[in-house]
């Protein structure tokens, strides 16, 4: 099977959905003429025209407001916010508008819209271009939050997001754009709320998101050599969350480590740990562990930045701590 990277997978998904449904359009800063800061939307303007591939001013509220209003009228906007950190300047549109209009109107308005944004650290760009903010959005009822880790998942999940009828925040890790894997030529969709077991194992469950899925897999490889069999679960969508797959795995292994790049405090891992404590307490043979970023902004200095983020070594250590 052919191999493509995540950036190409996203571009394919956008192109296929735009060709399939004329209601789909994309908008954002620098996404048209040059195809986006990360090149994800390259070629779309030439193919679909400037009416449906719209470069915007630096007006994040207007970008998301346009997405909200046009989605309510039945278009299917895919808005790009260049960096997820910038969601802070247009938070109202997600917090009070996109996630509330359907509810407060008792279902009169439906908002099929996707907000794509580049997320994550490791890019040596200090504290305003590196954050992993998924927990904030996962917290808000009415939003769906997608965190693909592979090109295969990225494509199938984005197509589902575009065809769905909800506001979706689609988080693309900057360090994953050029990671390749096998993606079929034929069309496929991946349902929301269905975790993927990226590797099966019996001794410990590792639950990881986005870039951390790759680090968790590397750790699992190393641990195998040391006689520990690790199962790696990628939830793929954290809202909705596939609790069943997680619970089933933990009931089998009795040990769990949750890995994410976002801050540990109040993170996705806190929620998963709480679910496990509520629903799988009797199956746990060891304390639940979280490997995540400490309670500090991301610094510029590469040595400092790397020291904060979860890596293979930290994951291995955490697994060993609860395996003995």
């Amino acid at each position: 099977m052919r191999e493509i990277n995540i950036s190409e997978a996203i571009r394919e998904a956008l192109g296929e959905e735009m060709a399939r449904d004329e209601n789909v359009f994309v908008l954002g800063e620098d996404i048209g003429l040059i195809g986006g800061d990360f090149g994800v939307t390259r070629g779309l303007m030439a193919r679909f025209g400037a009416d449906r591939v719209r470069d915007t001013p630096i007006s994040e509220s207007a970008i998301l407001g346009t997405a909200v209003g046009s989605a309510a009228m039945g278009l299917r906007p895919v808005a790009e916010i260049m960096f997820s950190d910038f969601l802070g300047v247009c938070m109202d549109m997600l917090l009070n508008q996109a996630s509330k209009i359907r509810y407060m109107s008792a279902g009169q308005w439906t908002l099929p819209m996707v907000v794509r944004t580049a997320t994550g650290a490791g890019t040596r760009s200090s504290s305003q271009h590196t954050q992993s903010l998924e927990a904030i959005f996962m917290h808000i009822p009415g939003l769906q939050v997608v965190m693909p880790s592979t090109a295969y998942d990225a494509k199938g999940l984005l197509k589902t997001a575009i065809r769905g009828n909800n506001p979706v925040l689609y988080l693309e890790h900057k360090l994953l754009y050029f990671v390749k894997n096998q993606v079929p030529e034929e069309e496929y969709l991946i349902p929301f709320g269905k975790a993927d077991i990226k590797r099966s194992g019996d001794d410990v469950t590792l639950i990881a998101t986005s870039l951390m899925v790759h680090r968790a897999l590397a750790a699992a490889d190393k641990l195998k050599g040391q006689g520990i069999s690790v199962e790696v679960i990628d939830p793929r969508t954290i809202a909705p969350l596939d609790k069943d797959t997680i619970l089933e795995s933990v009931k089998k292994t009795g040990r769990v480590v949750i890995v994410h790049e976002a801050w540990k405090k109040g993170g996705f891992g806190s929620e998963v740990a709480a679910i496990l404590a509520e629903e799988a307490f009797d199956y746990l043979d060891a304390p639940i562990k979280r490997v995540a970023t400490p309670d500090t902004p991301i610094p510029f200095c590469p040595i400092l930045e790397d020291s904060l983020l979860p890596d293979e070594e930290k994951i291995v250590r955490a697994v060993k701590e609860i395996s003995s």
Partner: protein, 319 residues
């Protein structure tokens, strides 16, 4: 004069209906019969009726927290609005929106917002969809003077101007954002002056004169419908009462409140219609009697309606 006497009498009727509705709501609130916040539009009926009157049925109207008048003017049955204020299942949003969040999809009233300024970029999106699909419709949003200093206002109007969207931005400038007089929030004399920065038409009209409001908004709507892009229309109005139902208005000079009462848009229109002979004292009595009956019917309907079932709280979160 752009409106015939017959049309003006129709506008007059709607203004009276809104006034009677709001007075009843104020009374019910004071008796503790209505939950939540209330922002009434007494004194601002000419803006609600004049601007909404300039729209076609398919044009989408967006409003804010002070929108009972717009909802009535857009044709939402009073029963459905009153039931919403009573938090009943038969309300226009099944009791999940309340006074600040009214909507009727069929009558093209978009869900009104409680976040000042936020309807402006959303109107862009609605107008954009009309434009992309070649629908001959216009998106019109009404907001207060307070909205003119939000980022959403500036980003939204800039984008609408840049993309020549079929949108109209109507500022119902009642001079105050809660306690803050517009002179203490805005460094230019007229909110319409903001239009210059975006290279679109900006006009200021007397918001107590329903015909002036209608004329200005109609011109802007026609312009938008003809593909010539958005406009900003400022209507200078005045609240007869407080910002919210329990506001004592300690911040507002007496003369200012007296001036608002003196320039009550309903009295002004009535005097004019009586003078031209379009309205007789007897007609006025009939109009009021009908209005009172309609409001009483709405209250009865709302009171008799059941509350939503508990499960309703969990519905409509996701589509």
């Amino acid at each position: 004069m752009v409106l015939s006497d017959t049309e003006l009498v129709e506008f007059y009727k709607t203004m009276i209906r809104i006034r009677l509705f709001e007075e009843k709501v104020q009374e019910l609130f004071r008796k503790g019969e209505l939950p939540g916040f209330l922002h009434l539009c007494m004194g601002q009926e000419a803006v609600a009726v004049g601007s909404t009157g300039a729209l076609l049925k398919d044009d989408m109207l967006l409003g804010g927290h002070r929108a009972h008048g717009h909802a009535i003017a857009k044709g939402i049955p009073m029963r459905k609005i009153m039931a919403e204020l009573f938090a009943k299942e038969s309300g226009c949003c099944k009791g999940k929106g309340g006074s600040m969040h009214l909507s009727d999809r069929d009558l093209c009233l978009f869900l009104t917002t409680g976040i000042v300024g936020s309807s402006i970029p959303i109107a862009d999106g609605i107008a954009f969809s009309f434009k992309l699909r070649g629908e001959n419709r216009v998106a019109v949003t009404v907001f207060g003077d307070g909205a003119n200093n939000t980022g959403a206002f500036h980003e939204g109007i800039n984008l609408a101007a840049l993309w020549k969207l079929p949108a109209v931005f109507v500022c119902d400038n009642n001079q105050y954002a809660i306690s803050t007089h517009v002179s203490r929030s805005t460094p230019i004399a007229n909110v319409s002056g903001r239009a210059k920065a975006y290279n679109i038409p900006g006009v200021t009209v007397d918001g107590q004169d329903v015909e002036a409001v209608y004329e200005a908004v109609k011109e802007a709507v026609d312009r938008a419908r003809d593909g010539n892009g958005p406009s900003l229309v400022e209507c200078k109005s005045a609240r007869l009462y407080g910002s919210y139902a329990a506001d004592s208005q300690s911040y507002r000079p007496k003369e200012d409140i007296e001036e608002a009462a003196r320039r009550d848009p309903i009295s002004l229109l009535k005097a004019r219609l009586m003078k031209s002979g379009a309205l007789k004292e007897g007609d006025d009595e009939m109009i009021r009697k009908d209005g009172v009956a309609e409001v009483e019917d709405a209250v009865r309907y709302a009171k008799e309606s059941p509350y939503p079932e508990p499960e309703e709280a969990l519905r409509d979160v996701y589509g």
